[in-house]
Symmetry: C2
């Protein structure tokens, strides 16, 4: 013990990993930690991992397939015990490979159409439905939707929820009321300018995420209009920005911290062999957060 203290001895986890074939390490492939959508997920992951004695390798892929594959290779060489893919673009074949080798992994905020895997997502369809129904309940009928990129499954589901809610309430969804955005401010800004120039402009906009909504806000203000007096606006995600005074966006909350937590829990179950054969697919419920960007339609 005296020697331990004097020499600063510390057990070598690398040697231990080599013999036990376990590193107590999880790889996390995320598109960009700089995007305010992700930090809470990461925090949830890290908290649960730390509680269970695991460390996290963080890898920013910018949603580029090549970078994801390069990181995947590296993580595998470093013998991580499992991998979490957050909003990953990784191809089906790679994922299928992992499955075939029985390597533990889980998807967060992304599903794959043709491969059965563990995942944790929010119910995007239900969330969008909630958003649009809220607008309808306020008397809006001419409701526009600015979508996310059409290769994102979440964006498609939100579009679906929008259309369903409109149809269920007997409202028609003019093609000109649906604009494609890119999940970023710029796209929301441009799409909104188009919407405002329509001969019959919408009285409300459901943006597929909060960034789009913030872009929309800017376009609306620049046109000399006010939210919610002239136009109601609903976002999606409930990122921290949305709650700021001066923004105060009505939006759909996505329980990101919890998603990270639960994904990690499921992954570690698999790693430690306590998981069953069936994939565990968690679909968390979204929640309508009413702030002051929506208002009953005048008249």
């Amino acid at each position: 013990m005296k020697a331990i203290a004097e020499l600063g001895y510390r057990p070598n986890a690398i040697a231990r990993s080599l013999v036990r074939n376990v590193t107590k390490t999880i790889g996390l492939i995320i598109s960009d930690i700089t995007n305010p959508f992700f930090p809470e997920i990461v925090r949830g992951i890290e908290d649960k991992a730390s509680e269970m004695g695991y460390n996290i390798f963080i890898c920013n892929s910018d949603a580029k397939v090549e970078r994801e594959e390069a990181y995947l290779e590296l993580l595998l060489e470093k013998r991580v015990d499992g991998i979490i893919f957050t909003s990953a673009r990784i191809t089906d074949t790679r994922i299928a490979d992992l499955r075939r080798h029985n390597f533990p992994f889980i998807l967060v905020s992304r599903t794959l159409p043709d491969v059965q895997t563990d995942y944790v997502v929010v119910d995007n369809r239900a969330g969008a439905y909630l958003a649009v129904e809220h607008l309808i309940s306020l008397g809006h009928q001419r409701i526009a939707h600015i979508t996310g990129p059409k290769d994102a499954s979440g964006a498609l589901d939100r579009l679906w929820g929008y259309q369903k809610a409109m149809a269920d309430h007997g409202l028609k969804t003019d093609a000109e009321l649906v604009k494609e955005g890119d999940f970023r401010e710029q796209g929301g800004y441009l799409a909104t300018k188009e919407l405002l120039s329509l001969s019959s402009a919408p009285t409300a906009i459901f943006a597929a995420n909060d960034f789009i909504a913030i872009g929309a806000l800017q376009a609306i203000n620049e046109a000399g209009l006010e939210v919610p007096e002239d136009i109601s606006l609903v976002g999606f995600d409930n990122i921290h920005l949305a709650g700021l005074t001066r923004i105060n966006l009505t939006t759909i909350n996505q329980p990101r911290y919890k998603m990270g937590l639960m994904a990690t829990e499921v992954l570690i179950e698999r790693i430690e062999g306590r998981g069953g054969a069936d994939p565990v697919q968690l679909v968390l419920e979204p929640e309508l957060v009413i702030r002051s960007s929506t208002k009953r339609l005048a008249g």
Copy 2:
């Protein structure tokens, strides 16, 4: 080669690490990735690390000494090649231990008074000076300052810069014009309410960071006043929030991405034995970003 493909063989980096005594891994101890101040630093770190062939272990400490020490121990056991401490509360003795053992590490956005170490910080004094000078140049004389927590070296430096700028321009800094905040919205909100209730309220406020400024914004609005018409407001850090339309905060930019990049570069130099004996201490220049929360004093 055929066998490699068939069996999915991959070199075992753990075994390699064991023999080479190098893991190509860096530990990052950060207080909370959920705080918008940090993601850009982390991204800078990860980008440079990845470029140099290193992976990053991310550890959220919530600025708690015990958690930092626990993580430190873990990282050392896992034989990371070096550690980056971002805004760490770690004690001098621990740091001194690391130095004594010649273990590579670097501090970002934090210095230690009594220990010589590598670090990367922004020039907080110069930044604060810039902020206050800007207000003075707009004709403000009664300028308040809401500080950060007084145990943060950066907060102290910003207070120093405020006082220096005031003194240099022959303005007196009434004690009642300096309020202590906590680097968060709530503190800024409360401090501002006190400032507004002063018999002679300030015409401008320099907040020690952007969160404080956002809290101040809310207090000002609630009092029925407008920024910048009734009160000018300057923040510090230039987090993403500050640039949103509807916030548009004049602030001091802190080059966070670059700080992460440079810290990692310096650290890897040390790890790979190319560093000199002297500590490398980088003090980056802050920059005034003028948006629309400041205005020439009427009259």
